[in-house]
């Protein structure tokens, strides 16, 4: 509600600024978070990998 009451008063250029900065800073944050998550997932996978002498399907 607060946002809606402020919205019409903002100059039109502000929406372009919000769109440009929002996508870039948001995109950077999302990419950084995704990188950290993917690194953690790969490390977990590498730590629990099946051994070379393990039969297909894993050990009982």
């Amino acid at each position: 509600m607060i946002l809606l009451s402020i919205m019409p008063r903002l100059p039109p250029d502000v929406w372009f600024i919000v769109a440009a900065w929002g996508v870039i800073l948001g995109g950077l944050a999302l990419y950084a978070a995704a990188l950290l998550r993917r690194i953690a997932a790969r490390r977990a996978l590498a730590g629990t990998r099946p051994m070379d002498d393990e039969p297909p399907g894993g050990r009982e």
Partner: protein, 245 residues
Amino acid sequence: MGTRILGVGALLLVVAASVNGLFLVPADLNQGDAQRIMYVHVPSAWLAYLSFGVTALAGVGYLWKRDLRLDAVALSAAEIGVMFTAFAIWSGMMWGQPVWGVFWQWEDPRLTTTALLLALYVGYLLFRRLTDDPRRRAARAAVVGLVAAVDIPIVHFSVEWWRGLHQGPTIGSPERLLDPAAPSQFVIALVSMVLAFTVAWAWLMVRRYQLARLDADLEELARRGRVAEARRAGLAAQRVEEATR
């Protein structure tokens, strides 16, 4: 530990430079608040150039040394470069509409060559998926990365070589850096944002490189696993053959 410090430093710098660019620096007399988009547009464009330059250099390094770590650097820089090119195009469009009256104009050489740059490096990333052999992939990607890098100087000098909607560089040369066309407050905001984004780029590069190396290790483990499995299957088939003789 060093990477963590770099990450925290990048975050603090980006926050500080963003607060300055968004709230402390006054609006431009002609462009109004839309000028603030330049504080993210210019750093994005600079980092796109830097990333693709690193991809090309790492590609040359790979062809020379045949070290797969250099291929991981090339891949990391290309992926991050694609992201920053997309950011530069997007922020340019958001600035173009209020200032030029259009989001995009295909006749403009800077805009068109930048779109081509994005397409070339998206193609580079797709091209890398065509083969599973890491050495063959690295060699082919190095050549593609070098060919694509030809577009970097074309993008940069397009505003000087051809007439278009895009303005010339504000700080494009050492002389311009010492005596810029824009007021010093704007230049300080721009340079601090370029610095903050470059530190963030360095952190992203380190992390993306780590991911690329982990992927390469897992790929190698999977390959070894497949070979071991094939050997086991071969031995089993041999035993069955011997037993049925």
